[in-house]
Amino acid sequence: MRLLAERSPSGYNFWVPTVASKLRVKVLFFGRIRELIGRAEEVEEVPEGTTLGDLFDRYAAKHPRLAGFRNSLVAARNQEFAAWETRVAAGDDIAFLPPVSGG
């Protein structure tokens, strides 16, 4: 198996197999965020240790207009509101939800 250097969350370099270091998650978009991204969902591969905040930052880098929304969004992980510091796990459904306006 090919080994690659990865940076751990603590900042130390260590050797890990690339296969084990990627997590596949589904990211869902709704309302104005869906319109801004241009699609309702996509599958992302992220390194282990990625938090919901990190994942959001990836999208904000790809879609600069998204960055301004950070403080007016709440993250959800597997149908439950979650803090930005929460780490994602393989197979998670992640969503960045705008203020809700049902009723």
């Binding site: 104005r32 709440v74 959800a76 979650a82 803090a83 780490r87 306006s101 009723g103």
Partner: protein, 156 residues
């Protein structure tokens, strides 16, 4: 007194809501009161005439959150049955977007639970409304549900 959601109804629908059927569903012989909340599409928003609305939801999460609200009102109030239905898609002026019915032996609990349910739904259930006007459309200002505190995962 039922203290569970087992006989309740929680639904997201893409067709008109049958309000009478929901009122009937919660009404049983052991009750003395039913309170129904009918939220429907108003013909204006901040002084601008509305043409129609479109609702979308994170459906699996929205339904889970609606059931959570149901469990909460069973816990907090002396109620019997709950019906809570939200409609999605395009709605015209005057059409019901959300209906909540609560039955109870006595009216106070039914009023309080119904009020708590609609207020909480508007703050925590992931549903979004887009308002269409003659000169464009906007996503309605909403409420940002509070993020939970950071959960520390137990060391494995």
């Amino acid at each position: 007194m039922s203290n569970t959601v087992a006989d309740d109804r929680y639904e997201l629908v893409h067709k008109p809501i049958d309000v009478a059927a929901l009122m009937q569903h919660v009404r049983t012989g052991q009750d003395g009161a039913v309170v129904g909340f009918d939220g429907f599409v108003r013909n204006e928003s901040h002084g601008r005439p509305t043409l129609h609305l479109e609702y979308e939801a994170y459906e699996s999460m929205a339904l889970a959150k609606m059931k959570e609200i149901g469990a909460q009102i069973h816990e907090r109030f002396a109620i019997h049955r709950v019906a809570m239905v939200h409609r999605l898609g395009r709605l015209e002026i005057g059409e019901t977007s959300v209906f909540i019915a609560v039955s109870a032996p006595h009216r106070a609990a039914a009023f309080d639970a119904c009020r708590f349910a609609i207020d909480t739904l508007k703050k925590t259930v992931p549903i979004w409304k887009k308002e269409y006007f003659a000169d464009g459309a906007v996503w309605a200002d909403g409420e940002l549900p509070p993020a939970p505190p950071i959960r520390v995962e137990p060391a494995s």
